[in-house]
Symmetry: C2
Subunit: 238 residues, 2 copies
Protein backbone atom coordinates (compact mmCIF):
# COMPACT_ATOMS: atom_id res chain seq x y z
CA UNK A 1 0.00 0.00 0.00
CA UNK A 2 1.10 3.53 -0.72
CA UNK A 3 1.60 5.39 2.56
CA UNK A 4 2.81 8.70 1.19
CA UNK A 5 -0.33 10.60 2.21
CA UNK A 6 -0.22 9.37 5.80
CA UNK A 7 1.56 11.06 8.70
CA UNK A 8 4.57 9.28 10.22
CA UNK A 9 5.10 8.97 13.96
CA UNK A 10 8.13 8.81 16.15
CA UNK A 11 6.55 5.71 17.60
CA UNK A 12 7.01 3.04 14.97
CA UNK A 13 4.67 0.89 17.00
CA UNK A 14 1.85 3.42 16.57
CA UNK A 15 2.53 3.58 12.84
CA UNK A 16 2.29 -0.19 12.70
CA UNK A 17 -1.01 -0.11 14.58
CA UNK A 18 -2.54 2.42 12.21
CA UNK A 19 -1.24 0.45 9.23
CA UNK A 20 -2.77 -2.70 10.68
CA UNK A 21 -6.06 -0.86 11.16
CA UNK A 22 -6.12 0.23 7.52
CA UNK A 23 -5.37 -3.34 6.44
CA UNK A 24 -8.24 -4.63 8.57
CA UNK A 25 -10.64 -2.16 6.96
CA UNK A 26 -9.40 -3.19 3.52
CA UNK A 27 -9.86 -6.87 4.39
CA UNK A 28 -13.37 -6.24 5.69
CA UNK A 29 -14.13 -4.23 2.56
CA UNK A 30 -12.80 -7.07 0.41
CA UNK A 31 -15.09 -9.53 2.14
CA UNK A 32 -18.08 -7.22 1.66
CA UNK A 33 -17.17 -6.88 -2.04
CA UNK A 34 -17.14 -10.65 -2.31
CA UNK A 35 -20.53 -10.84 -0.55
CA UNK A 36 -22.08 -8.29 -2.90
CA UNK A 37 -20.71 -10.10 -5.95
CA UNK A 38 -21.96 -13.48 -4.76
CA UNK A 39 -25.38 -12.07 -3.88
CA UNK A 40 -25.85 -10.59 -7.35
CA UNK A 41 -24.82 -13.85 -9.01
CA UNK A 42 -27.06 -15.84 -6.66
CA UNK A 43 -30.01 -13.69 -7.74
CA UNK A 44 -29.34 -13.38 -11.46
CA UNK A 45 -28.47 -17.07 -11.87
CA UNK A 46 -30.93 -18.46 -9.32
CA UNK A 47 -28.07 -20.11 -7.42
CA UNK A 48 -29.48 -20.88 -3.96
CA UNK A 49 -26.29 -22.54 -2.68
CA UNK A 50 -24.44 -19.28 -3.35
CA UNK A 51 -27.22 -17.36 -1.59
CA UNK A 52 -26.68 -19.58 1.46
CA UNK A 53 -22.96 -18.78 1.36
CA UNK A 54 -23.80 -15.07 1.54
CA UNK A 55 -25.99 -15.62 4.60
CA UNK A 56 -23.16 -17.48 6.32
CA UNK A 57 -20.62 -14.89 5.20
CA UNK A 58 -22.59 -12.08 6.79
CA UNK A 59 -21.78 -13.46 10.24
CA UNK A 60 -18.09 -12.98 9.44
CA UNK A 61 -18.71 -9.41 8.22
CA UNK A 62 -20.44 -8.63 11.53
CA UNK A 63 -17.60 -10.18 13.50
CA UNK A 64 -15.04 -8.10 11.60
CA UNK A 65 -16.94 -4.91 12.38
CA UNK A 66 -16.94 -5.74 16.10
CA UNK A 67 -13.19 -6.56 16.01
CA UNK A 68 -12.21 -3.37 14.21
CA UNK A 69 -14.48 -1.27 16.41
CA UNK A 70 -12.76 -2.72 19.45
CA UNK A 71 -9.34 -2.13 17.93
CA UNK A 72 -10.27 1.54 17.34
CA UNK A 73 -11.40 1.92 20.94
CA UNK A 74 -8.12 0.40 22.14
CA UNK A 75 -6.06 2.71 19.95
CA UNK A 76 -7.90 5.79 21.23
CA UNK A 77 -7.51 4.66 24.85
CA UNK A 78 -3.86 3.60 24.49
CA UNK A 79 -2.46 6.17 22.07
CA UNK A 80 -4.67 9.16 22.75
CA UNK A 81 -4.39 10.22 19.14
CA UNK A 82 -5.04 13.84 18.17
CA UNK A 83 -5.63 15.77 14.96
CA UNK A 84 -5.27 13.70 11.80
CA UNK A 85 -4.65 10.41 13.63
CA UNK A 86 -7.85 10.82 15.59
CA UNK A 87 -9.69 11.75 12.43
CA UNK A 88 -8.37 8.58 10.80
CA UNK A 89 -9.62 6.40 13.64
CA UNK A 90 -13.02 8.13 13.59
CA UNK A 91 -13.21 7.69 9.81
CA UNK A 92 -12.49 3.98 10.29
CA UNK A 93 -15.28 3.72 12.88
CA UNK A 94 -17.71 5.36 10.47
CA UNK A 95 -16.52 3.38 7.44
CA UNK A 96 -16.96 -0.02 9.05
CA UNK A 97 -20.52 0.93 10.05
CA UNK A 98 -21.27 1.50 6.37
CA UNK A 99 -19.44 -1.66 5.31
CA UNK A 100 -21.46 -3.70 7.77
CA UNK A 101 -24.68 -2.23 6.37
CA UNK A 102 -23.57 -3.02 2.82
CA UNK A 103 -23.14 -6.59 4.05
CA UNK A 104 -26.73 -6.52 5.34
CA UNK A 105 -27.96 -5.33 1.96
CA UNK A 106 -26.00 -8.09 0.20
CA UNK A 107 -27.64 -10.58 2.52
CA UNK A 108 -31.02 -9.11 1.59
CA UNK A 109 -30.25 -9.53 -2.13
CA UNK A 110 -29.25 -13.15 -1.50
CA UNK A 111 -32.48 -13.77 0.44
CA UNK A 112 -34.55 -12.33 -2.42
CA UNK A 113 -32.46 -14.46 -4.80
CA UNK A 114 -33.57 -17.59 -2.93
CA UNK A 115 -37.21 -16.58 -3.34
CA UNK A 116 -36.86 -15.70 -7.02
CA UNK A 117 -35.03 -18.98 -7.75
CA UNK A 118 -38.33 -20.79 -7.27
CA UNK A 119 -40.12 -18.67 -9.87
CA UNK A 120 -39.93 -18.50 -13.64
CA UNK A 121 -36.84 -16.60 -14.89
CA UNK A 122 -37.39 -13.44 -16.90
CA UNK A 123 -36.18 -13.58 -20.49
CA UNK A 124 -33.60 -10.86 -19.92
CA UNK A 125 -32.01 -12.78 -17.02
CA UNK A 126 -32.29 -9.81 -14.65
CA UNK A 127 -29.91 -7.81 -16.84
CA UNK A 128 -30.89 -4.55 -15.13
CA UNK A 129 -29.98 -5.96 -11.70
CA UNK A 130 -26.68 -7.13 -13.17
CA UNK A 131 -25.98 -3.67 -14.56
CA UNK A 132 -26.80 -1.77 -11.35
CA UNK A 133 -24.94 -4.43 -9.39
CA UNK A 134 -21.78 -4.00 -11.48
CA UNK A 135 -22.01 -0.24 -11.04
CA UNK A 136 -22.27 -0.32 -7.24
CA UNK A 137 -19.54 -2.96 -7.07
CA UNK A 138 -17.28 -0.54 -8.96
CA UNK A 139 -18.27 2.20 -6.52
CA UNK A 140 -17.46 0.00 -3.53
CA UNK A 141 -14.10 -1.01 -4.97
CA UNK A 142 -13.31 2.63 -5.82
CA UNK A 143 -14.35 3.85 -2.36
CA UNK A 144 -12.11 1.29 -0.67
CA UNK A 145 -9.18 2.25 -2.91
CA UNK A 146 -9.75 5.94 -2.17
CA UNK A 147 -9.90 5.13 1.55
CA UNK A 148 -6.70 3.11 1.61
CA UNK A 149 -4.81 5.65 -0.49
CA UNK A 150 -6.46 8.62 1.31
CA UNK A 151 -7.20 10.03 -2.10
CA UNK A 152 -9.81 12.80 -1.80
CA UNK A 153 -9.90 13.46 -5.52
CA UNK A 154 -10.70 9.84 -6.30
CA UNK A 155 -13.29 9.92 -3.50
CA UNK A 156 -15.10 12.86 -5.13
CA UNK A 157 -15.08 11.00 -8.45
CA UNK A 158 -16.55 7.85 -6.92
CA UNK A 159 -19.14 9.81 -4.90
CA UNK A 160 -20.39 11.32 -8.14
CA UNK A 161 -21.01 7.83 -9.51
CA UNK A 162 -23.90 7.58 -7.05
CA UNK A 163 -25.94 9.76 -9.37
CA UNK A 164 -25.88 7.04 -12.02
CA UNK A 165 -26.80 4.40 -9.44
CA UNK A 166 -29.84 6.52 -8.52
CA UNK A 167 -30.79 6.93 -12.18
CA UNK A 168 -30.46 3.22 -12.88
CA UNK A 169 -32.59 2.44 -9.84
CA UNK A 170 -35.27 4.89 -10.94
CA UNK A 171 -35.22 3.43 -14.46
CA UNK A 172 -35.64 -0.06 -12.99
CA UNK A 173 -38.72 1.06 -11.03
CA UNK A 174 -40.22 2.58 -14.17
CA UNK A 175 -39.44 -0.49 -16.28
CA UNK A 176 -40.77 -2.86 -13.64
CA UNK A 177 -44.04 -0.94 -13.56
CA UNK A 178 -44.39 -1.52 -17.29
CA UNK A 179 -43.66 -5.25 -16.85
CA UNK A 180 -46.36 -5.55 -14.23
CA UNK A 181 -48.88 -3.70 -16.32
CA UNK A 182 -48.13 -5.95 -19.30
CA UNK A 183 -48.37 -9.15 -17.34
CA UNK A 184 -49.87 -8.96 -13.82
CA UNK A 185 -48.87 -12.60 -13.19
CA UNK A 186 -45.27 -11.39 -12.87
CA UNK A 187 -46.05 -8.92 -10.07
CA UNK A 188 -44.57 -10.99 -7.25
CA UNK A 189 -41.37 -11.66 -9.14
CA UNK A 190 -41.02 -8.09 -10.39
CA UNK A 191 -41.54 -6.66 -6.92
CA UNK A 192 -38.83 -8.98 -5.61
CA UNK A 193 -36.46 -7.68 -8.27
CA UNK A 194 -37.45 -4.12 -7.30
CA UNK A 195 -36.49 -4.67 -3.65
CA UNK A 196 -33.21 -6.23 -4.76
CA UNK A 197 -32.53 -3.15 -6.88
CA UNK A 198 -33.29 -0.97 -3.88
CA UNK A 199 -30.76 -2.92 -1.78
CA UNK A 200 -28.11 -2.45 -4.48
CA UNK A 201 -28.86 1.25 -4.79
CA UNK A 202 -28.37 1.53 -1.04
CA UNK A 203 -24.98 -0.15 -1.34
CA UNK A 204 -24.10 2.70 -3.71
CA UNK A 205 -25.21 5.19 -1.04
CA UNK A 206 -22.99 3.53 1.54
CA UNK A 207 -20.04 3.59 -0.86
CA UNK A 208 -20.68 7.31 -1.31
CA UNK A 209 -20.69 7.71 2.48
CA UNK A 210 -17.24 6.11 2.65
CA UNK A 211 -16.05 8.61 0.04
CA UNK A 212 -17.38 11.44 2.19
CA UNK A 213 -15.30 10.21 5.15
CA UNK A 214 -12.20 10.20 2.94
CA UNK A 215 -12.91 13.78 1.85
CA UNK A 216 -13.43 14.80 5.47
CA UNK A 217 -10.31 13.00 6.55
CA UNK A 218 -8.07 14.54 3.92
CA UNK A 219 -9.57 18.01 3.67
CA UNK A 220 -10.65 18.57 7.28
CA UNK A 221 -13.98 19.75 8.61
CA UNK A 222 -14.24 23.16 6.95
CA UNK A 223 -14.66 22.03 3.38
CA UNK A 224 -16.74 18.99 4.19
CA UNK A 225 -20.24 20.32 3.61
CA UNK A 226 -19.05 22.75 0.98
CA UNK A 227 -17.56 19.99 -1.08
CA UNK A 228 -20.59 17.78 -0.58
CA UNK A 229 -23.00 20.56 -1.38
CA UNK A 230 -21.05 21.32 -4.52
CA UNK A 231 -21.26 17.63 -5.39
CA UNK A 232 -24.97 17.62 -4.63
CA UNK A 233 -25.48 20.77 -6.68
CA UNK A 234 -23.70 19.30 -9.66
CA UNK A 235 -25.65 16.09 -9.21
CA UNK A 236 -28.98 17.95 -9.15
CA UNK A 237 -28.08 20.12 -12.08
CA UNK A 238 -26.53 17.28 -14.05
Amino acid sequence: MDNSNLPHHISQQFDAELERLRSQVFAMGGLVEEQVKKAITALTEGDTALADEVTTGDIQVNAMEVDIDEECTHIIARRQPTASDLRLVIAVIKTITDLERMGDQAEKVARIGRELAEMERPRNGYIEIQSLGTHVQNMLRGALDAFVRMDAEAAVKIAKMDLQADHEYEAIIRQNMTFMMEDPRTIKRVLGATWAARALERIGDHAKNVCEYVIYLVKGKDVRHTTLEQLEKEATEG
Copy 2:
Protein backbone atom coordinates in the same frame (compact mmCIF):
# COMPACT_ATOMS: atom_id res chain seq x y z
CA MET B 1 -32.93 15.26 31.62
CA ASP B 2 -32.69 12.05 33.58
CA ASN B 3 -29.05 11.19 34.21
CA SER B 4 -29.52 8.08 36.27
CA ASN B 5 -28.22 5.74 33.56
CA LEU B 6 -25.03 7.70 33.01
CA PRO B 7 -21.74 7.23 34.83
CA HIS B 8 -20.57 10.02 37.15
CA HIS B 9 -17.01 11.27 37.20
CA ILE B 10 -14.80 12.69 39.86
CA SER B 11 -14.25 15.56 37.49
CA GLN B 12 -17.44 17.57 37.58
CA GLN B 13 -16.11 19.48 34.62
CA PHE B 14 -16.04 16.30 32.53
CA ASP B 15 -19.57 15.45 33.62
CA ALA B 16 -20.65 18.90 32.52
CA GLU B 17 -18.96 18.44 29.13
CA LEU B 18 -20.68 15.13 28.48
CA GLU B 19 -23.99 16.61 29.59
CA ARG B 20 -23.45 19.53 27.23
CA LEU B 21 -22.65 17.09 24.42
CA ARG B 22 -25.91 15.22 25.00
CA SER B 23 -27.81 18.51 25.00
CA GLN B 24 -26.19 19.49 21.70
CA VAL B 25 -27.24 16.20 20.12
CA PHE B 26 -30.76 16.69 21.45
CA ALA B 27 -30.85 20.24 20.05
CA MET B 28 -29.60 19.05 16.67
CA GLY B 29 -32.16 16.26 16.73
CA GLY B 30 -34.89 18.77 17.57
CA LEU B 31 -33.92 20.90 14.60
CA VAL B 32 -33.95 17.87 12.30
CA GLU B 33 -37.39 16.91 13.64
CA GLU B 34 -38.59 20.42 12.81
CA GLN B 35 -37.08 20.14 9.32
CA VAL B 36 -38.79 16.82 8.65
CA LYS B 37 -42.12 18.16 9.88
CA LYS B 38 -41.87 21.29 7.74
CA ALA B 39 -40.82 19.32 4.68
CA ILE B 40 -43.82 17.01 4.93
CA THR B 41 -46.21 19.95 5.34
CA ALA B 42 -44.52 21.78 2.46
CA LEU B 43 -45.15 18.79 0.23
CA THR B 44 -48.64 17.81 1.33
CA GLU B 45 -49.92 21.39 1.34
CA GLY B 46 -47.92 22.68 -1.61
CA ASP B 47 -46.35 25.38 0.57
CA THR B 48 -43.26 26.53 -1.33
CA ALA B 49 -42.29 29.20 1.24
CA LEU B 50 -42.05 26.46 3.85
CA ALA B 51 -40.01 24.35 1.42
CA ASP B 52 -37.57 27.27 1.11
CA GLU B 53 -37.30 27.44 4.92
CA VAL B 54 -36.25 23.78 4.95
CA THR B 55 -33.53 24.44 2.39
CA THR B 56 -32.19 27.30 4.51
CA GLY B 57 -32.53 25.26 7.70
CA ASP B 58 -30.38 22.48 6.27
CA ILE B 59 -27.36 24.77 6.37
CA GLN B 60 -27.85 25.07 10.13
CA VAL B 61 -28.17 21.29 10.49
CA ASN B 62 -24.86 20.87 8.67
CA ALA B 63 -23.20 23.50 10.85
CA MET B 64 -24.41 21.76 14.01
CA GLU B 65 -22.94 18.47 12.83
CA VAL B 66 -19.57 20.10 12.25
CA ASP B 67 -19.68 21.79 15.70
CA ILE B 68 -20.59 18.63 17.58
CA ASP B 69 -18.05 16.58 15.65
CA GLU B 70 -15.38 19.08 16.65
CA GLU B 71 -16.56 19.04 20.26
CA CYS B 72 -16.27 15.22 20.27
CA THR B 73 -12.73 15.41 18.90
CA HIS B 74 -11.81 17.94 21.59
CA ILE B 75 -13.27 15.78 24.35
CA ILE B 76 -11.35 12.74 23.15
CA ALA B 77 -8.10 14.72 22.91
CA ARG B 78 -8.57 16.55 26.23
CA ARG B 79 -10.21 13.92 28.43
CA GLN B 80 -8.89 10.72 26.90
CA PRO B 81 -12.11 8.94 27.79
CA THR B 82 -12.16 5.16 28.10
CA ALA B 83 -14.81 2.45 28.32
CA SER B 84 -18.37 3.75 28.50
CA ASP B 85 -17.40 7.43 28.16
CA LEU B 86 -15.54 6.70 24.94
CA ARG B 87 -18.45 4.61 23.71
CA LEU B 88 -20.75 7.56 24.42
CA VAL B 89 -18.59 9.95 22.41
CA ILE B 90 -18.37 7.46 19.53
CA ALA B 91 -22.14 6.94 19.63
CA VAL B 92 -22.55 10.73 19.42
CA ILE B 93 -20.24 10.88 16.39
CA LYS B 94 -22.27 8.16 14.66
CA THR B 95 -25.64 9.62 15.67
CA ILE B 96 -24.95 13.08 14.29
CA THR B 97 -23.90 11.53 10.97
CA ASP B 98 -27.35 9.96 10.75
CA LEU B 99 -29.09 13.14 11.90
CA GLU B 100 -27.31 15.12 9.22
CA ARG B 101 -28.44 12.60 6.59
CA MET B 102 -32.02 12.81 7.83
CA GLY B 103 -31.70 16.55 7.30
CA ASP B 104 -30.59 15.89 3.72
CA GLN B 105 -33.61 13.67 3.14
CA ALA B 106 -35.92 16.36 4.59
CA GLU B 107 -34.36 18.83 2.17
CA LYS B 108 -35.05 16.37 -0.65
CA VAL B 109 -38.72 16.10 0.38
CA ALA B 110 -38.95 19.91 0.43
CA ARG B 111 -37.37 20.12 -3.04
CA ILE B 112 -39.87 17.59 -4.41
CA GLY B 113 -42.61 19.56 -2.63
CA ARG B 114 -41.61 22.65 -4.62
CA GLU B 115 -41.91 20.69 -7.88
CA LEU B 116 -45.25 19.11 -6.95
CA ALA B 117 -46.68 22.48 -5.87
CA GLU B 118 -46.81 23.47 -9.53
CA MET B 119 -48.87 20.42 -10.51
CA GLU B 120 -52.47 19.44 -9.89
CA ARG B 121 -53.07 18.14 -6.34
CA PRO B 122 -54.26 14.56 -5.93
CA ARG B 123 -57.73 14.19 -4.42
CA ASN B 124 -56.38 12.41 -1.35
CA GLY B 125 -53.98 15.29 -0.55
CA TYR B 126 -50.96 12.96 -0.37
CA ILE B 127 -52.49 11.19 2.64
CA GLU B 128 -50.07 8.27 2.26
CA ILE B 129 -47.06 10.61 2.46
CA GLN B 130 -48.62 12.20 5.55
CA SER B 131 -49.09 8.80 7.17
CA LEU B 132 -45.55 7.55 6.47
CA GLY B 133 -44.24 10.98 7.47
CA THR B 134 -46.00 10.87 10.84
CA HIS B 135 -44.66 7.38 11.43
CA VAL B 136 -41.02 8.27 10.77
CA GLN B 137 -41.38 11.48 12.78
CA ASN B 138 -42.51 9.34 15.71
CA MET B 139 -39.51 7.07 15.14
CA LEU B 140 -37.13 10.03 15.11
CA ARG B 141 -38.63 11.49 18.29
CA GLY B 142 -38.51 8.08 19.99
CA ALA B 143 -34.91 7.46 18.90
CA LEU B 144 -33.81 10.83 20.30
CA ASP B 145 -35.62 10.14 23.59
CA ALA B 146 -34.00 6.71 23.82
CA PHE B 147 -30.62 8.27 23.10
CA VAL B 148 -30.92 11.00 25.71
CA ARG B 149 -32.23 8.61 28.36
CA MET B 150 -29.82 5.83 27.26
CA ASP B 151 -32.81 3.51 27.24
CA ALA B 152 -31.93 0.33 25.30
CA GLU B 153 -35.38 -1.18 25.78
CA ALA B 154 -37.07 1.85 24.24
CA ALA B 155 -34.46 1.77 21.45
CA VAL B 156 -35.37 -1.83 20.58
CA LYS B 157 -39.05 -0.84 20.50
CA ILE B 158 -38.42 2.11 18.17
CA ALA B 159 -36.08 0.07 15.93
CA LYS B 160 -38.89 -2.42 15.41
CA MET B 161 -41.12 0.40 14.14
CA ASP B 162 -38.94 0.47 11.02
CA LEU B 163 -40.73 -2.64 9.80
CA GLN B 164 -43.97 -0.66 9.50
CA ALA B 165 -42.17 2.18 7.73
CA ASP B 166 -40.89 -0.36 5.18
CA HIS B 167 -44.36 -1.83 4.74
CA GLU B 168 -45.95 1.58 4.26
CA TYR B 169 -43.29 2.47 1.69
CA GLU B 170 -43.87 -0.76 -0.21
CA ALA B 171 -47.64 -0.17 -0.12
CA ILE B 172 -47.09 3.35 -1.51
CA ILE B 173 -45.07 1.96 -4.42
CA ARG B 174 -47.80 -0.57 -5.20
CA GLN B 175 -50.55 2.04 -4.94
CA ASN B 176 -48.65 4.54 -7.06
CA MET B 177 -48.25 1.93 -9.78
CA THR B 178 -52.01 1.54 -9.86
CA PHE B 179 -52.47 5.31 -10.07
CA MET B 180 -50.12 5.52 -13.04
CA MET B 181 -51.82 2.66 -14.82
CA GLU B 182 -55.21 4.29 -14.32
CA ASP B 183 -54.12 7.70 -15.50
CA PRO B 184 -50.75 7.95 -17.26
CA ARG B 185 -50.98 11.76 -17.22
CA THR B 186 -50.21 11.60 -13.47
CA ILE B 187 -46.93 9.73 -13.95
CA LYS B 188 -44.64 12.69 -13.29
CA ARG B 189 -46.49 13.70 -10.15
CA VAL B 190 -46.80 10.15 -8.85
CA LEU B 191 -43.11 9.45 -9.39
CA GLY B 192 -42.30 12.63 -7.43
CA ALA B 193 -44.46 11.38 -4.57
CA THR B 194 -42.67 8.02 -4.80
CA TRP B 195 -39.23 9.61 -4.39
CA ALA B 196 -40.55 11.65 -1.45
CA ALA B 197 -41.82 8.45 0.15
CA ARG B 198 -38.40 6.90 -0.39
CA ALA B 199 -36.74 9.85 1.39
CA LEU B 200 -39.12 9.44 4.34
CA GLU B 201 -38.54 5.71 4.51
CA ARG B 202 -34.83 6.43 4.65
CA ILE B 203 -35.38 8.80 7.58
CA GLY B 204 -36.93 5.79 9.34
CA ASP B 205 -33.78 3.78 8.56
CA HIS B 206 -31.59 6.49 10.07
CA ALA B 207 -33.78 6.62 13.19
CA LYS B 208 -33.31 2.86 13.47
CA ASN B 209 -29.54 3.36 13.17
CA VAL B 210 -29.62 5.78 16.12
CA CYS B 211 -31.48 3.12 18.12
CA GLU B 212 -28.75 0.62 17.26
CA TYR B 213 -26.10 2.98 18.68
CA VAL B 214 -28.10 3.27 21.91
CA ILE B 215 -28.29 -0.53 22.17
CA TYR B 216 -24.55 -0.78 21.53
CA LEU B 217 -23.83 1.95 24.03
CA VAL B 218 -25.90 0.46 26.81
CA LYS B 219 -25.35 -3.25 26.18
CA GLY B 220 -21.77 -3.22 24.89
CA LYS B 221 -20.34 -4.89 21.82
CA ASP B 222 -21.07 -8.53 22.55
CA VAL B 223 -24.82 -8.41 22.28
CA ARG B 224 -24.91 -5.87 19.48
CA HIS B 225 -25.30 -8.13 16.48
CA THR B 226 -27.16 -10.73 18.48
CA THR B 227 -29.78 -8.21 19.49
CA LEU B 228 -30.00 -6.81 15.98
CA GLU B 229 -30.20 -10.22 14.39
CA GLN B 230 -32.96 -11.14 16.79
CA LEU B 231 -34.73 -7.94 15.81
CA GLU B 232 -34.17 -8.70 12.14
CA LYS B 233 -35.41 -12.24 12.63
CA GLU B 234 -38.57 -11.09 14.34
CA ALA B 235 -39.05 -8.46 11.67
CA THR B 236 -38.71 -11.02 8.88
CA GLU B 237 -40.95 -13.52 10.58
CA GLY B 238 -43.48 -10.88 11.66
